[in-house]
Amino acid sequence: MNGHIESSQAFLALADGTIFPGISCGAPCDLPGEAVFNTGMTGYQEIVSDPSYFGQIVALSTAEVGNYGCNDEDMESQSVFLSGLVVQNLNPPSSWRSTQSLDGLFQSTNKPILAGVDTRRLVLHLRETGTQRAWLHANGKKLSPTTAVVKAKEWPGLDGLDCAAQVTTPVPFTWSNTGKYRVVVIDCGVKYNILRQLAEQDCRVEVVPCITNASEILALRPDGVLLSNGPGDPEGVKGVIDCVRQLLGKVPIMGICLGHQILGLACGAKTGRLRFGHHGCNHPVKHLLTGNVEITSQNHNFAVLQESLPTDLEVTHVNLNDGSVEGMRHRTLPAFSVQYHPEAAPGPFDARYLFGQFQQMMQR
């Protein structure tokens, strides 16, 4: 429905010219982003605070959003990193855990929400056309949809950008300072729940900026290094890829999401863009070594390409929906990674065992 739109009305314009009118909530903004969708039915707070969504305008397919508000404990980072949120219905909170409304969180972090959108239409559209550059107009000023489409087209997008550099911690910090194992986390946009899970596995957790080089990391004498999740194109984080190449074999490595792609690239595999990415909490992944199936939390637009895998790498997990690579391990060196999110948040915890596996790897 691209009918007549009041010029001051809020809307989302896709680069292909499709317009999605809505109501402006959160902070008034006018900005570009990569339009993606997420089909999870809970966990909007974890999504909006996940740094991996940096630069993206995320449409939630679930019908009612904001219902349980937001709280400090469920933040996956210090702030909101995505560019904008698009929802069907935005609600005030009703939960004993809530300390702030979702609307309030967006106002305080100066991010826009476009509410009242038929996000199913947007999801179906993105499913057909693939991820698109988009312009979110939600500042109450006048802007014609045509201009917005032009702006969306003109926006260069995220491909090739080192997005991790935008979201990584500026300085190293210690998440937990007790524990048997010392883990250094290379922060490309790490979710706090990865850190929480490591701490639960008896790990002392040090988080370092993604620009940290291998010798600096090895100087911390880690028992293991975790390559975190993060936003954007893995080929954009050249520094980390180099760093990982040097760390391989010297210290056990676990990679998650972007970290998985980085491990792949460091070992000589290639990555490519998925048509519309995996964003949701319900993807079945088969563990090829055990035959077990896990329901996983997913959020990625890029994937390691199976046909590009060097012989050193062995696929350990595959996505049962589309057969894409979901996990791999090095055949000789202590390194493994998964494309999905064993730390959940949001989503199921079926793959929590991977942190235990990392701990065992560090024991050896």
Binding site: F20, F37, S61, E64, Q88, S95, T119, N292, L320
Partner: protein, 1072 residues
């Protein structure tokens, strides 16, 4: 892992008759299982006593037994069939309990039958409260503090130890929480415990700390033998703990849990499954969550497919029962495909981009004496589900799906009743969970009551209260401009509500809407929130931007079939069965079928049934929208009961092509004046009658035609407010009440034909030729609603000339009424004279029973006739002659409604039916009694109290009973005197009011196993029948029933208790 090849023959258990707590959802699950297991190449043996099920159609199993669902019959079937495996998880609690009994008695072991889908130990861990609690403790999951008691004394010790009220009392091993309750004090506690001990199969009650006001959730879990588990759906109850989940308004997905809370609940649900030892299949786990601190306790888990799994399947598009059946035979989740996408595996968790609301359907109007407060004992007889893009839309659609006369949340005339409550009354109503609380909420919100106050009174989460407040605020601002109208539709308002707001009519709103281009869009239930393309056409309406394109299948004609909406007394699974048959027949004949229905329990709302499914309210607006969108060639309205018929005239006036008998003729049959002349032209004799608008007129008519008279409002189904009236004062009382119920329709008054034999006839006409499908003779005499009456095919003793007249009159009536399709006629035969009582040119409740008994698929044939086929083309030319007998018996919900009079009357009260089949009529009758739970013993004490007018009639039957020396007679004075005079020994007993020992004492001493009470008006019969219900004893209340029972018992005793068994397929083979 592929399917098992070491088993070949699988025995499946259905759920038996529809009762409160166990509706037609188990036909839905059973049908799915049968279809898929047959497709996998297994040989299937099915036991289900309910003839109104699709699963008992002969093509769904290799051998179908319509026998009583008792361990004795199951054992005999197993002995006869020697199945390799027994699958008990798809037939509700009935099937599970039955499977446990044959497991415990060693029958399964003896005949080498493997229990598949679940093992007996797991069932015990889940069902035995103590074991369950211990298992939960062992995995660190908290359950409510509880203790079990096996006697009242034990219970009292426990309640003292708890030291606080209220306490929850739940009986172990029952259906739908029968006999449970919330005790707020000592007296109530004793009452509920006593009842609960009686209701429990293992004479156990559980006394629990109260979680009143906590939030309630259900998780639908599936797992396979590899241990892969998924949550199919989370369901959140709008009504907090304290209201049975079957009586609660529920919402999917869960709305008010943070991801962290949700995932913890998910993990724990899976942990529970594993700890209980569920190997494969679907289960549900229920949780209570403290809204103030998130503390979470487990309530229970069902190790089987349940009512909520049917709901979850319809809500998500994930076919739980089908998958459960496949998992039971060895597949794993990753090997199975998601039906809806057909590309991704079934091993995933569905994502919803809409909101689903389920609302329970109550029928308190049928049981005015029952307490309408909702508690832990389920009282709903049906439910509706609706789908919308926001909570409000789904909520309002659900209200109008209920067909209780409400059009939505506010902006409707019926709201006035609640607006009339004063503040105090409103406050106490809100604090009392009840069927009308939704409307009371509206009143409170309109009065501007603070949400916090309403929350305190009701325990309903603020999320929902705010949503509803959004509606009450919006309703004052609705404008006729496009934006406002669109917003109103998005919030779920019906055209009718808008018409009410603007003081215009529905058609005017529709016109305006169309002019402004405010049209519904249709979304797909696709399991994945749009992530993958959906193949299965399962739709709901919304007012979103994106509209699924209409699919047109290469020039096929499109026929829409309107379903029956929520189950209620008088309209249930029987009509859904007819609708599904129509779909099957039309599909097979090359038509494109479109099903519209709002009842999640049904087979008709399986996306596998029709070519396209619209899960929508059955209202003029919603149906017409679909008709116009799909450009249907015609609509079938005569198979779904009163619901679609009520829409027929309006739809026809709006240009809809109604197939089959014209709506005007259907109306004519219901219109006393018009029908009179039709009957006259058809040469059909009718009892003298009249029609009155008010009391004076009614009295005048009654005195003209003579008392007793049968009175009822026109235009109702299930005999609502129908009564036999013996004198003028009764008539005046009746008129005062009935004119209110009938909403302006006149009251019909008929001469009541006492001592007449009643017949039900279902016939079929193609518009030219009419053939009687079956003649059913009622066991009870006229005056009891046909839906409540036991009946038999063939009729037992009708003179040939009466039979001939039935055929002739039926044909002439069909002609006069221009019947194309089905017609049901009720006849009465009195002193050899045939009267027509009532004619309904539509599917009747007896069609499935008649079809099953005769092997003639009446509803399928009817659909094809409506689509243009002739009976000759269908090779149906004469009434089948049965070399065996089929009895239908009704099943009643009296045990659920304490204090309700169980006397049968012209007003229908039964919820379901069973069938008894045998080569011998009396045996078939006895089987129907066994199947209905009225299990007449083969020996022991019989209490007899027979009214004077029947004493001589029953004497030979009693002599027959006495002759085989299996029974001990106890009789009241008059009956005893009669027995004594005829040389039959008996013990004397006082009437209840006369002295001791009376019947109650004898029952308590366990001396009585069967009550035979043929009451005279005004005696203590009602009390005796209560005792029978209270103690679960079989009762026989008519001379005709006693005769059948006596004959049957003589046979059984002669056969030393071995029932004769035969499958439906074998019976049908004997038909000529």
């Amino acid at each position: 892992m592929p399917k098992r090849t070491d088993i070949h023959k699988i025995m499946l258990l259905g759920a038996g008759p529809v009762v409160i707590g166990q509706g037609c959802e188990f036909d839905y699950s059973g049908v799915q299982a049968c279809k898929v297991l047959k497709h996998e190449g297994y040989e299937l043996v099915l036991l289900n006593s309910n003839p109104a099920t699709i699963m008992t159609d002969t093509e769904f199993a290799d051998r179908t037994y319509l026998e009583p669902m008792t361990p004795e019959y199951l054992r005999e079937i197993i002995r006869r069939e020697r199945p390799d495996a027994l699958l008990p998880t798809l037939g509700g609690q009935t099937a599970l309990n039955l499977a446990m009994e044959v497991w415990k008695s060693g029958v399964l072991k003896r005949y080498h039958v493997e229990l598949i889908g679940v093992d007996a130990e797991a069932i015990q861990r889940a069902e035995d409260r103590r074991l369950f609690k211990a298992t939960m403790d062992s995995i660190g999951i908290r359950s409510a503090r509880s203790e079990s008691a096996h006697s009242l004394q034990e219970a009292q010790v426990i309640s003292k130890a708890f030291g606080k009220w209220p306490l929850i009392v739940r009986p172990g091993f029952t259906l739908g929480g029968t006999g449970g309750g919330i005790a707020h004090g000592q007296e109530e506690f004793e009452e509920i415990v006593t009842r609960g001990l009686e209701a429990s199969l293992n004479h156990e009650v559980l006394i629990e700390e109260s979680l009143l006001g906590w939030k309630e959730y259900e998780m639908e879990v599936m797992c396979d033998k590899r241990g892969t588990s998924v949550i199919v759906c989370s369901i959140e109850n709008l009504d907090p703990m304290g209201v049975h989940t079957g009586d609660s308004i529920t919402v999917a997905p869960a709305m008010t849990l943070t991801d962290r809370e949700y995932q913890a609940m998910r993990d724990d649900s899976l942990k529970v499954m594993r700890a209980i030892g569920i190997q494969t299949g679907g289960s549900n786990v229920q949780w209570a969550v403290n809204p103030t601190n998130g503390e979470r306790l487990i309530i229970e888990m069902n190790p089987r497919v349940s009512r909520s799994s049917a709901l979850a399947s319809k809500a998500t598009g994930f076919p739980i029962a089908k998958i459960a059946a496949l998992l039971a035979v060895g597949y794993t989740l990753d090997e199975l495909k998601n039906d809806i996408t057909q590309t991704t595996p079934a091993c995933f968790e569905p994502a919803l981009d809409y909101v689903v609301v389920k609302m329970p359907r109550f029928t308190f109007e049928k049981f005015p004496a029952a307490d309408s407060t909702l508690g832990t004992q389920m009282k709903a007889v049906g439910e509706v589900m609706s789908i919308g893009r926001n909570f409000n839309q789904a909520f309002q659609k659900a209200i109008r799906s209920l067909e209780t006369g409400h059009w939505g949340f506010g902006l409707e005339p019926k709201q006035a009743t609640f607006d009339a409550l004063d503040d105090n009354a409103l406050e106490s109503e809100l604090a009392r969970p009840n069927a009308d609380r939704v409307y009371q909420l509206h009143t409170a919100l309109k009065r501007g009551w603070a949400l916090e106050k309403i929350h305190t009174l009701t325990g309903i989460d603020l999320f929902y209260l705010r949503k509803l407040q959004e509606l009450t605020e919006f309703e004052t601002t609705i404008g006729k401009e496009k934006d406002s109208l669109r917003k109103a539709k998005q919030l779920g308002y019906s055209d009718r509500q808008l018409a009410f707001a603007w003081n215009t009519d529905e058609r005017a709103v529709r016109k305006l809407r169309k002019r402004l281009n405010v049209l519904p869009a249709y979304g797909t239930v696709d399991t994945c929130a749009g992530e993958f393309a959906a193949v299965t056409p399962y739709y709901y309406s919304t007012y979103a931007d994106y509209d699924e394109p209409v699919r047109n299948a290469d020039g096929k004609k499109k026929i829409m079939i309107l379903g029956g909406g929520p189950n209620r007394i008088g309209q249930g699974i029987e009509f859904d069965c007819c609708c599904v048959h129509a779909v099957f027949a039309l599909k097979a004949a090359g038509f494109e079928t479109i099903m519209v229905n709002s009842n999640p329990e049904t087979v008709s709302t399986d996306y596998d049934t029709a070519d396209r499914l619209y899960f929508e309210p059955l209202t003029f607006e919603d149906v017409l929208n679909i008709y116009e969108r799909e450009q249907c060639d015609g609509v079938i309205v005569q198979l779904g009961g009163q619901t679609p018929l009520n829409l027929a005239s309006d739809l026809a006036a709006a240009g809809v092509h109604i197939l089959g008998t014209p709506p005007d003729d259907i109306d004519a049959a219901d219109d006393r004046g018009r029908f009179k002349s039709i009957a006259e032209s058809a040469g059909a004799r009718r009892p003298p009658s009249g029609m009155a608008q008010e009391a004076e007129e009614a009295c005048h008519i009654a005195s003209r035609i003579g008392y007793p008279v049968l009175v009822r409002p026109s235009f109702v189904l299930g005999g609502r407010a129908m009564a036999i009236v013996n004198d003028e004062s009764e008539l005046r009382r009746y008129m005062a009440e009935a004119t209110r119920v009938s909403e302006g329709h006149p009251i019909l008054i008929d001469k009541f034909l006492d001592d007449a034999q009643e017949l039900d006839v279902d016939c079929l006409s193609d518009g030219t030729t009419t053939v009687v499908g079956a003649i059913m003779e009622h066991v009870e005499q006229a005056g009891i609603h046909s839906g409540d009456s036991a009946c038999s095919i063939p009729p037992r003793d009708l003179p040939d000339e009466v039979l001939a007249e039935i055929h002739a009159v039926s044909s002439r009536l069909a002609k006069e009424l221009h019947v194309c399709g089905l017609m049901n006629i009720q006849f009465a035969v009195r002193h050899g004279v045939l009267y027509v009582i009532e004619v309904n040119p539509r599917a009747s409740r007896t069609v499935p029973f008649a079809s099953k008994a005769t092997g003639i698929p009446l509803a399928k044939h009817a659909a094809l006739c409506m689509a243009g086929k002739t009976l000759a083309e269908l090779h149906f030319s004469k009434t089948p002659q049965l070399p065996y007998s089929a009895f239908k018996e009704a099943v009643f919900p009296f045990a659920k409604f304490q204090g309700v009079d169980i006397t049968l009357s012209p007003e229908m009260k039964s919820t379901g039916e069973v069938m008894g089949l045998d080569w011998d009529a009396a045996n078939a009758y006895l089987k129907s009694q066994d199947a209905a739970g009225n299990r007449i013993p083969h020996e022991g004490g019989v209490f007899l109290s027979i009214r004077d007018s029947d004493k001589s009639t029953v004497l030979p039957f009693l002599q027959q009973l006495a002759s085989n020396h299996h029974f001990d007679f106890y009789a009241t004075a008059g009956t005893g005197a009669m027995l004594y005079a005829n040389g039959i020994p008996c013990h004397g007993v006082f009437r209840l009011a006369e002295g001791r020992p009376n019947l109650r004492d004898l029952i308590l001493e366990r001396k009585i196993g069967w009550i035979v009470n043929i009451p005279a008006p005004g005696d203590d019969g009602a009390k005796m029948r209560h005792l029978a219900i209270e103690f679960g004893l079989p009762i026989t209340t008519t001379a005709a029933a006693l005769q059948m029972a006596a004959e049957g018992l003589a046979n059984v005793i002669a056969d030393v208790g071995h029932p004769d068994l035969c499958s439906l397929q074998e019976y049908h083979r004997m038909l000529k």
